[in-house]
Amino acid sequence: MFDTNELVINMGPQHPSTHGVLRVVLRLDGERVIDANVVIGYLHRGIEKLCEYRDWGQIVLITDRMDYIAAASNNLGYCETVEKLMSLEVPPRARYIRTILAELQRIASHCLWLGTHAMDIGAMTVFLYAFRERELILDLFEDYCGARLTYNAMRIGGLPLDIPPRWDAKVRAFCDILDEKVNEYEELLTHNRIWLERTRRVGVISGEEAVAIGLSGPALRGSGVARDIRKDEPYAAYADFEFDVPLGSDGDTYDRYLVRLEEFRQSTRIIRQALDGLPEGPIIGKVPRLIKPPAGETYHAIESPKGELGYFIVSDGKSNVPYRFRVRPPSFCNLQALPRLVKGHLVADVVALIGSIDIVLGEVDR
């Protein structure tokens, strides 16, 4: 019959800290969470079906809208998948600039993650500081392609635009500013006793369990699994650069926080190397006027700021639209782990864990 000791609480689709329209139905025993039922689909726009009716070139615009916090990463994944299908060669200058854009996106996405995660736990000032840095990146992107959120910054075969004059100096200046600011964030949070108490030993997941449940990206690396597509299956120009992949050890929220914080520094390292070694040359390869990949299918994945962003595209070789367009969203697969992570924790930790996994609902629902 009824278990009268349980309380069912709904963290509804509208809630200050679910980072979008996410619904979590919690079953509580007093203050402890027994089970969490995650309901998604409020932002489902049918992108996969829509792209079966859009040109190969038009789809780049649509991919912007999935993970709208890191739009250039989605563009990169899609363009690379189609280039793989067509066996297209991308010129080195385009590959370097794509890497710079992707790393700038990683920093921008992590800035937003840091701000919202800290605000959920109560440190509201970090939110404003992180967004100040994110604004600088958005200004850089506005200089480059004219848009602040949905960039449409890449084309199949390369890039539509070369970098504007003095853009590289601005990016270098930004990298210097960011390195200082990351030290500031560390000062505010990393050794703060309250932060440690709120994030240590909260949401612990071991490496094998994380792999089994499908976590990827910084959430997986926080549990000590050395998995980074930029190192394991290098794409764009990552094979030319030296950088470290930070790993956690305990698999708790604090380790995931440290991993992402260190990724800030590694990203600026990559950007500086890319700017130093930027080759001359064309920015788009030999692309036919009408893009029609030969019949075939492929799966290609990149390391987006949230995890493994994969595209499975099927082309039937004859029509000018894809036959099947599938996105493997990292946030969708990472969110699966939420019920496992919150079990046994208090209600106040649920909010910290949603922030720690770092989801964006545009990607979860597509």
């Binding site: 609480i9 963290m11 200050p16 800290s17 203050e31 800290a118 959920d120 736990i121 109560g122 440190a123 509201m124 000032t125 404003l128 500081y129 100040r132 505010l188 949070l189 703060n192 309250i194 932060w195 108490e197 709120r198 208090l346 209600v347 106040a348 930790d349 909010v351």
Partner: protein
């Protein structure tokens, strides 16, 4: 005749007005300070640099619709914010702003009343304001405010134990419960009690943060908590009263901390003759300055620190602060006897 009735009445009127204006402008102070910490400007539109913002807020709240939940207890619902606000105001009766000043030839003491159990009076009034929270949670006739109200009151009561223990050690030092007497004892000792009883100061500071439900101890009223806190069902002026009661409590705690530890109206280093020129500044300006520093630090902490989870907060109160307060009391007693 004049002196026994008119002067105290005047003092009460002036004090109440000053406190209410101060409480209202605390809102602006908090918004401005937090904004400047967060690299933004805060209210700038209403009046030059936003100085008329609190007046605009007050007018807005007064004009709001008066909503009472359907099956709520009307009387208790209206009473709860009053029970929260009034004890904070009446606590100011024993706080000494200065010893005495001469106005038009009359010597006027800068406190409304100097009762010989002033400290006990303050502890009593802050304990009454806990009732306001419980009544609010009960009267809302809704599951979540009730639970949140019980939680908040549990937090307040726990930290009150720590503070009261700490106050006992202070009384042992000064030998009197009267607020004016404690400041005089600091004058005789020649130094502020913060240097003599640093542990007690820290306990008062942390306990004060918890008593007033300020960050980092504000989980019961944070938005990220599922329940909106004990004042969920309140709107308009009643909500404003809770809000202002919180600020009034903050000012009380700051004033008490100033009186007990920072020497009240004494100048810095009251025993050092070379600094006697500082006596040109009237005592009450020293007092207000020190209180202001406390208020600023409270706001600064809110802008900077994350918040504690409820169980961690209770653990801090019971397992850390209370043993510390007891240890402080024991050591103070021993030293007082031996020295």
């Amino acid at each position: 005749m004049l002196e026994t009735y008119l002067v105290p009445l005047l003092k009460i009127v002036v004090l109440l007005n000053a406190v209410l204006v101060a409480v209202t402008y605390m809102v602006l102070l908090e918004r401005k300070v937090i904004a400047w910490v967060q690299v933004r400007l805060g209210p700038m539109r209403v009046g030059p640099h936003g100085v008329l913002q609190p007046i605009a807020d007050a007018i807005k709240l007064l004009l709001k619709e008066d909503i009472t939940p359907a099956r709520a207890d009307r009387w208790v619902f209206t009473l709860a914010p009053i029970v929260s606000m009034v004890p904070a105001l009446i606590a100011f009766a024993v706080i000494p702003f200065d010893s005495a000043i001469t106005l038009f030839g009359y010597p006027i003491t800068m406190y409304v009343a100097d009762i010989n159990v002033g400290l006990l009076y303050i502890v009593a009034t802050t304990s009454i304001s806990v009732y306001g929270i419980i009544l609010a949670g009960y009267a809302s006739n809704s599951k979540f405010p009730l639970l949140a109200g019980l939680r908040a009151s549990a937090q307040l009561i726990s930290y009150e134990v720590a503070i009261t223990m700490m106050l006992v050690s202070l009384v042992v030092m000064a030998g009197t419960l009267s607020m004016v007497g404690i400041v005089r004892a600091q004058l005789e000792a020649g130094m502020w009690y913060v240097f003599v009883q640093p542990v007690a100061f820290v306990i008062l500071f942390i306990g004060g943060l918890a008593e007033t439900n300020r960050a980092p101890f504000d989980l019961p009223e944070a938005e990220q908590e599922l329940t909106g806190g004990f004042h969920t069902e309140y709107s308009g002026m009643r909500f404003a009263l809770f809000f202002l009661a919180e600020y009034a409590n903050m000012i009380v705690v700051s004033a008490v901390a100033t009186t007990l530890f920072l020497g009240g109206w004494l100048r810095p280093f009251p025993n050092v003759g070379a600094l006697a020129f500082l006596d040109l500044v009237p005592g009450w300006i020293w007092f207000l300055g020190k209180t202001f520093v406390f208020l600023y630090v409270f706001i600064w902490i809110r802008a900077t620190l994350p918040r504690y989870r409820y169980d961690q907060l209770m653990r801090l109160g019971w397992k850390v602060l209370i043993p510390l307060a007891i240890a402080n009391l024991v050591v103070t007693g021993l030293l007082k006897v031996l020295l």
